[in-house]
């Protein structure tokens, strides 16, 4: 972006918005919007509290558990659907429906099934992340070169060796792409789950802050969450770069 002939760096717009926020906050126009400097101060204080640290640990644990479950279920299911036609016919429709459905609507059902606790959050992460992993794994397995499979068979590969040494490796770029998209969806799952359950982790903190009108802390927590989501996306993008290198090397 250029302004009056000067080149302005990308982060400058962020500074402008922060400044605008600060001015509006100082004017005391809207009760909901404390000055940005107050929010920053609240953030610094917040990360030192044990309630924030506990909530972060809970959130990360639920996210990691849910993702681990989604990957350990999603990849084998995708392989099964990619290789066995009956499984594909039976499950294909459901996987497609779930991968595009508004899953937030199902979180209240999860609460009934799993109670108001961490298990519901884990289930939400799983539910958000698993379908895209299944779909991408299936696509990868279907595109494994038939001659590679014939090669393994002609040199006497057993069924387990065929899967472990050929099919999983040949489908790896797609499997990793599915996991990347699954991770991003999993972040959504953990946030939506916690907000709806509202007594676990960040959800409980949000509830406390908004109910007691502690707006500075409320905004501080929002910013921390956004920063975390961006960090994950950035991290995954870096891994993706390596996967793309690998995908190029397949030709």
């Amino acid at each position: 972006m250029t302004l009056f002939g000067y080149r302005i760096p990308m982060m400058a717009s962020l500074l402008v918005w922060c400044l605008a926020w600060e001015i509006v906050g100082r004017l005391d126009l809207v009760f909901l919007l404390p000055p940005f400097s107050d929010v920053l101060a609240a953030a610094v204080q917040l990360v030192q509290t044990s309630s924030w640290q506990d909530a972060t640990v809970t959130t990360l644990r639920a996210f990691a558990t849910g993702m681990a479950l989604a990957i350990t279920c999603g990849v084998p299911l995708g392989v099964l659907m990619g290789r066995v036609k009956i499984a594909d016919d039976l499950l294909g429709m459901w996987v497609n429906i779930f991968s595009s459905a508004p899953l937030s609507a199902l979180v209240p059902v999860l609460m009934i099934l799993f109670g108001f606790g961490e298990r519901t959050i884990i289930a939400a992460v799983f539910l958000f992340a698993v379908w895209i992993i299944v779909l991408d794994t299936r696509a990868g397995v279907r595109h494994v070169s038939p001659s590679l499979i014939e090669m393994a068979r002609s040199y006497g590969a057993t069924k387990p060796a065929l899967y472990a040494k050929i099919i999983l490796w040949a489908a790896l770029p797609e499997i990793l792409a599915g996991i990347r998209l699954g991770l991003i969806r999993g972040v959504k799952g953990v946030v939506i789950g916690q907000l709806l359950v509202a007594i676990v982790g960040y959800g409980a903190l949000f509830e406390t802050f908004s109910r007691n009108f502690r707006m500075a802390e409320f905004w501080a927590l929002t910013i921390i969450l956004f920063a975390f989501a961006m960090l994950i996306a950035e991290l995954i993008e870096r891994i993706e770069g390596k996967v793309e290198y690998y995908a190029g090397a397949r030709q």
Partner: protein
């Protein structure tokens, strides 16, 4: 009729040679499409036999039936007297599109057949290195397939087939995805490799020149459905300079003879 007579004459010649692969009454249909009809063939031990014919004559199908990769609709294949019901260690396959694992180095690709058999790492890598050297790829052991040219990739495929020490090598148009210059070089190398190894080769090709250049026997297949139309034994001396074969009168005559026979199938 002349063709039938010739075929009979040829088959009497071959009963004297010991056959390692015997194909009896093989038929193959895909739904209503008849790919192969009643194929009877013997492949003599230690010889290179080409299956030659226009596209759609089922030559690759026949080779894959011998490999045990696809089942026949009728008939049987025996290798060394044993009935073929699937792939076996006495047969090794070289693929048209190389079928190399892109995530594995040349060394691991060549050793893969042995890896599947459970051979120890040091032993199989030693064997693989020996065959990599034999096909002229020394120094490329740690490269990945995408770093090699098409000709070099097929050398990897050939080294993999050689390293499992199978008696019968099945080659499915191995040079068709290789450029012309590399193909010439590769054909010369194959003649040289053959004289060093006492193996039986079954070679599928659609190139008349290639078949005559490298084969002891050429089986001509006619298309739709695939049948054996002629068996030819080009009596060419390959012990000397490989380039002189291309100028050998018998080489040129045989190419012409096959072309005259195949012409009728070409639109």
């Amino acid at each position: 009729m002349a063709v039938t007579a010739l075929r009979e004459k040829q088959s009497t010649v071959h009963t004297s040679l010991e056959a390692i692969v015997e194909v009896k009454g093989i038929c193959k249909s895909y739904g209503n499409v008849e790919a192969l009809r009643d194929i009877d063939l013997d492949f003599p031990r230690g010889k290179l036999t080409s299956l030659l014919g226009p596209s759609g004559c089922g030559k690759t199908t026949l080779l894959k039936i011998i490999a045990g990769l696809i089942g026949a609709s009728a008939g049987s294949v025996t290798v060394d007297g044993k009935h073929v019901s699937g792939p076996g260690p006495e047969r090794a396959f070289v693929f048209q599109d190389f079928a190399l694992m892109p995530w594995a180095t040349v060394l691991r690709n060549v050793a893969f057949g042995l890896e599947l058999r459970g051979t120890g790492k040091t032993e199989r890598e030693e064997t693989a290195r020996r065959y990599i050297a034999q096909v002229g790829l020394s120094g490329f052991e740690d490269k990945y397939p995408h770093e090699l040219s098409g000709g070099m990739r097929q050398r990897v495929g050939l080294a993999r087939a050689l390293s499992v020490d199978a008696e019968v090598l099945l080659l499915d148009e191995p040079f068709s995805a290789v450029d012309e210059q590399n193909r010439r070089k590769f054909q010369e190398d194959l003649i040289r490799l053959r004289s060093a190894q006492n193996k039986t080769f079954i070679f599928v090709t659609h190139s008349i020149e290639e078949a005559v250049y490298i084969s002891d026997r050429i089986v001509l297949l006619s298309p739709r459905p695939g049948r054996v139309s002629q068996v030819i034994e080009p009596d060419i001396d390959r012990s000397g300079d490989p380039d002189s074969i291309h100028r050998d009168q018998r080489y040129l005559d045989t190419v012409e003879e096959i072309w005259q026979g195949l012409k009728q199938y070409v639109e």
